[in-house]
């Protein structure tokens, strides 16, 4: 399946900005099941300086600075991405979750050094005993890894209510866990925290979700905005995707942009401005199949 994606971000500032530096992570990365065919990033006003590079996790990023006085900043990307069906492992035949966790116990097997990055606390995700207890309901002894992950995904979907007003990007997961409400970002963080709390590596994926016109079908939540979900490392298979917001295993309708330890590693646009005062932000995303 090939998609054309248009992602617009517009900032309007109450006071003039004399100088701004931004990092954008908007370019869909290539994965084993995804190929990027085309990508353009337009910025208004035109930045004085702009540089694309690859970050620590291999995501494509664009650093730019606007050095003229401006009161509005517009970032528009056009991406064309071909997505083939992601791996769907048969839950029952995957290894028991403890077998995977054991690989990361001391001493660590050299072949899992790369996934090992994703087992530790990160700026927005902290493992805890409470979350470990919650996760163990899905990860009982000898449960196959993927079966456990599917169950966890389902439980987050059932136990937590999607509520775009309950949280902000700064809400800690402890609070999300207590309130049982949040948005896709919170649910991805929560899933990651649960997995790490039982010793499994997990990473955060930011991306898009193809949406369908509501003809008879229930419309998937997260439409026309950036979406987020998590991945779990399955030894011998690789990273597998799970979307707790929609209780699905992403296949052809999830488009990966970037991944990292949590949202703070992959924030689509982050900036530091001189001046600016209060700002309003408008984001719109259109995902169309080509």
């Amino acid at each position: 399946m090939t998609y054309n994606i248009i992602h617009r971000t517009i900032y309007e500032y109450a006071a003039p900005v004399t100088m701004s530096h931004h990092v954008a992570r908007l370019e869909p990365r290539a994965t084993s099941t995804q190929a990027q065919e085309n990508f353009s990033l337009k910025i208004f006003p035109e930045p004085t300086l702009r540089k694309a590079r690859t970050d620590y996790f291999g995501n494509r990023i664009c650093l730019f600075s606007v050095q003229e006085v401006h009161s509005k900043l517009e970032i528009i990307t056009h991406s064309r991405v071909a997505v083939s069906a992601k791996k769907i492992a048969v839950p029952e035949i995957t290894v028991a979750w403890e077998q995977v966790a054991k690989l990361f116990r001391n001493p660590v097997s050299p072949e899992v050094v790369e996934p090992y990055q994703f087992i530790f606390d990160s700026p927005q995700v902290r493992a805890s005993l409470d979350l470990a207890d919650y996760a163990r309901e899905s990860f009982a002894p000898d449960v196959p890894l993927v079966a456990g992950a599917l169950d966890l995904t389902k439980r987050i979907f059932k136990d937590f209510k999607f509520d775009s007003k309950a949280t902000t990007i700064a809400t800690p997961i402890e609070e999300v866990f207590e309130k049982r409400r949040g948005v896709c970002q919170d649910f991805a963080h929560l899933g990651i925290a649960c997995l790490r709390s039982v010793g499994l590596p997990a990473r955060y994926v930011s991306g898009y979700l193809r949406t369908h016109a509501p003809e008879g079908k229930t419309r998937l939540v997260g439409a026309d905005a950036s979406h987020a979900w998590f991945q779990i490392y399955c030894h011998g298979v690789g990273w597998l995707d799970f979307d707790p917001t929609n209780n699905v295993q992403p296949a052809e309708e999830h488009i990966t942009v970037a991944y990292g330890r949590d949202f703070s590693d992959v924030s689509p646009v982050a900036g530091i401005l001189t001046g600016g005062g209060r700002h309003a932000i408008k984001v719109s995303v259109d995902v169309e199949s080509a």
Partner: protein, 858 residues
């Protein structure tokens, strides 16, 4: 026969009574089981201490005490302080120095030196690998958790090539000596090795009070280390180093070691800047100065690495420079220590060092670390859990979220919870053996006593290796059983002497050169933040002066027996103090005119009450704080003058706090305060070069003086008693113009003449016009006002004020007796008073304008 005279024959060799060794060391009883630096096991002083002890024994007890007192006095005078967080008594605490230096024997020092050079080399190699190839992780020499699991591993800094492959430009190690006499490293300081400046301060103080011993012992100089620091930093500049600009980046005056930062910046000759003084444009770092942007090549940082760039590192940092990491990647600037070097400050690395040393350097580790078990390793964890009581358990990593004090061990009462935590996330914990400290002689009320000490030693990268400061910061621990050293918890410090067998070379920090020196008449450009501080320093110094004069005049003219009738005569003074905030609304409280005691109490509170807004005491406090902000740009004399002002107004004097203070005493204090301020202003006028700093200081002073004089003159014209000679006397007194008036007129004060002298006489440094003329002249020499300045620029405001005042004639005040304040003179004064705040705003907009930083995303 020649009559010979022999001195010995008279038996009068010396009149000085020698303090016997027994006396000086009588109370010196080292605890059993600890290593004592002074006394060997047989109870005899060790040879390398012999000269010092010998010299001390020569002194009489009085002389010894005098030298110890001098030590304290020098610290106070130099203003050597340490900030203690959350101290309600004010943050600045005098630095504690024990006058008795800690001496290390030369051969022993050579071993320490070699061990530390090896260690710094090793740590630098580890950092280079962690931020590059990460081979050590792949080949299992390092556990990946130590790097990937640490918040101090800064991923955005991975693969940024360090200049000359040096990450660790500065390194310090904390050492302790065990009972068997061996030195152990108890912590590695790789992030920002603090304290070298305090070591320098200790040296300056101690070498002065014990100058004879200092020479006799051939103590190695520390200046060479700082000269090496200068050349290392100059070498780091990405562009040819001739014009390289090095700045020291500080978190600001509230940081615990701000004194040290200002002290070192001045000593090394670098500008001390805050993050907001720098900006990244075109991937280069620039300093924002009054006349534009100036390029920065090297940043010596005192800001933690993760705070250095809010764009790519910690996004809530207000201390850093957005875009710095990208400027580093582009190779346009060097930061020392390299961003990310805090990684190795984790004590967990200690248990890996022996193996890594063999692997990377093919050598045995020369200086051992205190025995450390990192719970991320199975065998270590089991050992720790079984022997929890024997160890000090610490967080392995600096924990951002919970803000652990990484130095502080856990309390044993939390043991069960601790066990649970270790089992849940073992990577986060290390256990260390309790550190044992040796004892060294310390001064304690006239005697030498053994006190536990720790030693911090400093290294700087130099060429292809490291150079060790011969000496260091010896810290004296408050209690003998304390097992961690932190200045926050109190304690004292000492100078550290490395004695030499041969005379040592004198070192100076000033470069001598055979080449022709390019002569300069201007120094570095002033950052706008500092211009702002100097301007307010000027304003507050004059505010203190004017307030003290007004209050003194009021107190001198206040007669408790005739309160009611005297008040109208005081009203211009009181009105001025009311308008300016020292005695708000005082004239609207008629009951005060009947109650002389309450009235007097009000006046005294306006002087002494530190809690009262606008009081002289508060103004002086604020003045001192502003002086601290520009500490690296003002002389010690100016600083000392201001410190004494504060003491004069009595922070700690309890009798004043109890309110036992007579009006007469208060006048004395005000006289002292005015003298102190005069000294400060005199130093500013006579000792500061006519550069931007002085200009802004003087502009602040002029503006404030014009405000106070204008307010007083306005209040006088509004008073029904304006022509009362007693009222006019007070005006002349406050404007310090009585003598001039008398020499000119030989008359009772007369309104037109007084106003001519205090408002319009451009020869009188205390007239309003004089201030306006001076301000106009300053403006002509400033860099052009920024375009952002409003249409009513400072220059045009001043021109109008000047024209208006030049067009007035105070003789009209003699004829229009009815409503003086409605006269042309009155109007001119009122208009000037309206213009002055606008002038201040215009100056701020044109030269200081700091825009707030905001952030989006994340």
């Amino acid at each position: 026969m020649i009559q010979s005279q022999s001195q010995t024959a008279t038996g009068e060799t010396s009149f000085a009574k020698k303090a016997t060794p027994e006396k000086l060391l009588a109370g010196y009883k080292p605890a059993k089981g600890a290593f004592d630096e002074l006394l060997a096991a047989n109870g005899e002083p060790r040879p390398h201490y012999a000269k010092l002890i010998g010299a001390l024994e020569e002194f009489s007890p009085n002389e010894l005490q005098h030298r110890a007192d001098t030590c304290q006095r020098l610290i106070r005078e130099q203003g050597i302080t340490y900030n203690v967080y959350g101290d309600p008594r004010g943050m600045e605490r005098p630095w504690q120095v024990d006058p008795i230096p800690f001496i290390i024997a030369p051969d022993e020092w050579r071993a320490v030196e070699a061990g530390l050079i090896q260690r710094a080399t090793l740590l630098n190699k580890i950092l280079t690998d962690c931020y590059g190839a990460q081979e050590l992780i792949r080949t299992r020499w390092l556990s990946p958790a130590l790097v990937f699991g640490q918040p101090d591993f800064l991923r955005p800094c991975h693969n940024i090539r360090a200049t000359a492959d040096t990450f660790l430009h500065f390194y310090a190690a904390d050492l302790a000596r065990s009972p068997d006499g061996r030195w152990w490293v108890i912590s590695d300081r790789t992030q920002i090795p603090t304290g070298a400046g305090y070591a320098l301060a200790n040296r300056l103080v101690t070498s002065r009070i014990l100058s004879e011993s200092f020479r006799e012992n051939n103590v190695h100089r520390v200046a060479g280390f700082f000269r090496e620091t200068q050349s290392t930093l100059a070498r780091l500049a990405p562009r040819p180093s001739e014009n390289a600009r090095v700045v020291m980046l500080t978190p600001g005056p509230h940081n615990e070691t701000y004194f040290e930062q200002a002290y070192l910046a001045r000593y090394l000759g670098y500008m001390l800047v805050e993050g907001q003084d720098l900006t990244v444009r075109d991937n280069h770092v620039w300093l924002k100065t009054l006349s534009g942007l100036e390029r920065v090549d090297v940043i010596l940082r005192r800001v933690d690495d993760d705070f250095c760039d809010p764009l790519e590192l910690r996004n809530n940092s207000m201390l850093g420079v957005p875009g710095l990491v990208e400027a580093l990647r582009a190779g346009n600037v060097t930061v020392a220590n390299a961003l990310g070097s805090g990684l190795l400050q984790s004590p967990a690395f200690m248990s890996f060092l022996p193996g890594l040393c063999r692997h990377l350097l093919s050598e045995e580790l020369k200086l051992p670390s205190v025995a450390t078990w990192w719970c991320g390793q199975n065998t270590a964890r089991e050992h720790v859990l079984k022997n929890l009581d024997r160890f000090v358990v610490k967080p392995a990593f600096r924990n951002h979220a919970q803000n652990f004090d990484s130095e502080k061990p856990f309390a044993s009462s939390e043991r069960d919870e601790l066990k649970r935590q270790i089992e849940f996330d073992p990577d986060l914990f290390v256990a260390q053996e309790r550190v044992e400290f040796s004892t060294a002689p310390s001064w304690d009320n006239g005697a030498l006593v053994p006190r536990p000490i720790g030693l911090r030693v400093y290294l700087v990268a130099s060429g292809d290796g490291y150079c060790v400061m011969p000496g260091g910061l010896t810290r004296v621990l408050p209690e003998s059983d304390s097992n961690f050293v932190s200045m926050q918890s109190g304690g004292s410090s000492k100078d550290t002497w490395i004695a030499s067998e041969t005379p040592v070379e004198e070192v100076t920090l000033l470069h001598s050169t055979n080449q022709n020196v390019e002569l300069r008449r201007t120094g570095n450009n002033l950052p706008s933040r500092l211009a702002d501080n100097f301007f307010w320093l000027g304003r507050y110094s004059e505010r203190a002066d004017a307030t003290a004069r007004l209050l003194r005049s009021a107190l001198l003219r206040f007669n408790p027996e005739r309160t009611g009738s005297a008040l109208p005569l005081l009203s211009p003074l009181l009105q001025t103090l009311s308008t300016q905030g020292q005695l708000p609304g005082i004239l609207e409280q008629p009951e005060l005119s009947q109650n002389s005691e309450a009235f007097e109490a009000e006046l005294l509170a306006a002087i002494f009450d530190p809690a009262r807004p606008g009081s002289l005491r508060q103004i002086v406090d604020r003045l001192q704080m502003l002086a601290m902000f520009v500490r690296d740009r003002t002389s010690n004399d100016m600083w000392r003058g201001l410190s004494q002002l504060n003491e004069g107004l009595g922070g700690s004097d309890t009798s004043r706090r109890r309110g036992v203070m007579l009006a007469g005493d208060a006048v004395g204090v005000l006289n002292q305060t005015l003298l102190g301020l005069a000294a400060f202003h005199g130093l500013a006028r006579e000792n500061m070069t006519r550069a931007q700093a002085w200009r802004f200081l003087d502009m602040g002073l002029r503006l404030e003086r014009a405000v106070y004089l204008g307010t007083l003159l306005d209040a006088t014209l509004r008073s029904p008693e304006a022509d009362n000679p007693s009222v006019l006397e007070a005006v002349l007194d406050v404007a310090d113009s009585s003598i001039t008036y008398r020499s000119r007129y030989n008359l009772l004060p007369h309104v037109p003449a007084v106003f001519d002298l205090v408002l319009l006489d451009d020869k009188n440094p205390r007239s309003v016009l004089f201030q306006i003329v001076q301000l106009t002249q300053h403006f002509e020499r400033l860099p052009l006002e920024r375009e952002a300045a409003r249409p009513d620029s400072g220059k045009s405001i001043l021109q109008e004020c000047l024209a208006r005042l030049n067009n007035t004639d105070t003789r009209e005040l003699a004829t229009s007796q009815e409503n003086l304040s409605a006269s042309k003179v009155g109007n001119a004064i009122q208009q000037t008073l309206r213009d002055l705040p606008k002038l201040s705003d215009a100056i701020a907009a044109a030269y200081f304008a700091h825009s707030a930083i905001s952030r989006t995303g994340r």
